[in-house]
Symmetry: none
Subunit: 259 residues, 2 copies
DNA sequence: CACTATAGCTGGTCA
DNA sequence: TGACCAGGTATAGTG
């Protein structure tokens, strides 16, 4: 790791020009103002901030509070660094969409340059798609003797998450939601009505979710629909760490504009 | 700014215990694994990361790529630091929702502690009625050669904030909003239509606001209406800069569990 | 305090 | 490529 406290602008400029456009994590702490221009406009007055350039060229400007960055650029195509009598300017441009973040440093208190290695990737247990798959694999999660007919079945009202038949051969429309609300109920009702038109007979509608509110449950039951609660832990047996860290990195070569 | 390279776990623990629960920006670079448990579950395998604790207690764990953090906690109620033979553990808990981020450090390459000052957090005080008055007093805020005909003019659709004539004697309907949205646009449009019925000829509609979103602006322009941005500082002579950067900070005293 | 709507949303999936 | 939807969404505004 390379680290300089209170560098001169010349030192800083040299370091930034060397490392900004390469696969290094670069951090600059200092007093700066920031402008953004592109999809919107924003101007950030002078303040002490932390600038973070990541190894895939992502740029973040963090202030002293708030979980989210004050300013950012998810992907930068070209960096540009200039020094004049007033300080150091860093410009991060990307095309498509055309936008630029400009950072004017008045003071720089710290610069660090490092190459971080992260072999792991995060996988979250409990996404909607996971539940779909789990139900398809093990329909008994929802109900005994349930047979999946089709997944993502299309109807005029939209796509049904899981379409099945129960142990009395009745058709069952299953809608999966992580955070069910009134709209979810209405949507399920529409699906059931579509299936009634297509197949006739008694059609069941089941809302599958890890949680439920009293209000929505009542709303659901008033419409003759059912609710099955699933525990995430039961549905997803194990989550695995997947190595995605190299994705796209080998292609990363933002141009560096020397002037 | 306090800074230690390659601290021992004991040194690190001491520093973290001292500053994590206070209004300091704390940064830890090192090799770690991270667990999250709460609204969902996630596990992040060992990797080199940057942990950032901000002055409002927000916690971020950044990996070497991606603009977004690998793991985070927007607000932390209590921090807990422990050292054992395997390394250093940092736990950040919050209630409502009940969730926890656990960071296990195997190696720590850098710790920095600092207090950042961001003067740009200054916000402005000003109410809608203030802008009305200011426009009545000085119509040129909105446009040159504007003559106010009437304030709070009544129409069947409601009261028009300011009713005026421009330098070509066209009638101008001015609607003032602090936070304009779609409804504001529709309201202005209704006023313009009312005035068209009453006076005929070309009627202009101007929305005056200190800020504007892209969507609303587009919506506005599609209807042939105009937008004038006003700076509170320009409009209200005695506007006061209110320091909101401390908002909630004085109350910020996450408990520190000494164990 | 809860609910609602937006975001320079970002990120995914699927027609 | 674009439309549509989810997110540990976060955040701001309103009742």
């Amino acid at each position: 790791m390379e680290l300089i406290e209170n560098p001169s602008f010349e030192q800083a400029s040299q370091l930034l020009k060397e490392y900004l456009s390469r696969e290094y994590t670069v951090q600059v702490n200092g007093l700066c103002t920031v402008n953004y221009r592109g999809r919107a406009k924003s101007k950030l007055d002078r303040g002490e901030r932390i600038l973070l350039k990541k190894q895939d060229s992502a740029l973040l400007v963090h202030g002293p509070d708030n979980y989210q960055p004050k300013n950012w650029q998810p992907e930068v195509d070209s960096f540009k660094v200039e020094v004049d009598e007033e300080g150091l300017v860093l410009r991060a441009v990307r095309r498509n969409p055309d936008e630029m973040v400009e950072v004017f440093f008045d003071e720089i208190s710290l610069i660090t340059v490092d190459q971080l290695v992260d072999k792991s990737e995060l996988k979250i247990a409990g996404h909607e798609v996971d539940i779909h798959e789990a139900i398809e694999d093990e329909p008994e999660i929802v109900e005994e003797d349930l047979k999946v007919v089709e997944r993502e079945k299309e109807t005029p009202a939209g796509f049904i998450d899981v379409f099945a038949r129960d142990n009395e051969d009745r058709y069952v429309v299953i809608e999966v939601k992580r955070n069910p609300d009134y709209n979810t109920v209405l949507q399920l009702q529409r699906y059931v009505e579509e299936i009634e038109e297509e197949f006739h007979g008694e059609i069941r509608g089941i809302l599958v979710a890890p949680k439920m509110t009293e209000k929505v449950l009542k709303y659901l039951e008033e419409r003759g629909l059912e609710f099955v609660e699933v525990e995430m832990a039961d549905v997803i047996p194990s989550y695995e760490a997947v190595d995605n860290s190299q994705k796209g990195l080998s292609d990363f070569k933002p141009s560096y504009d020397l002037n």
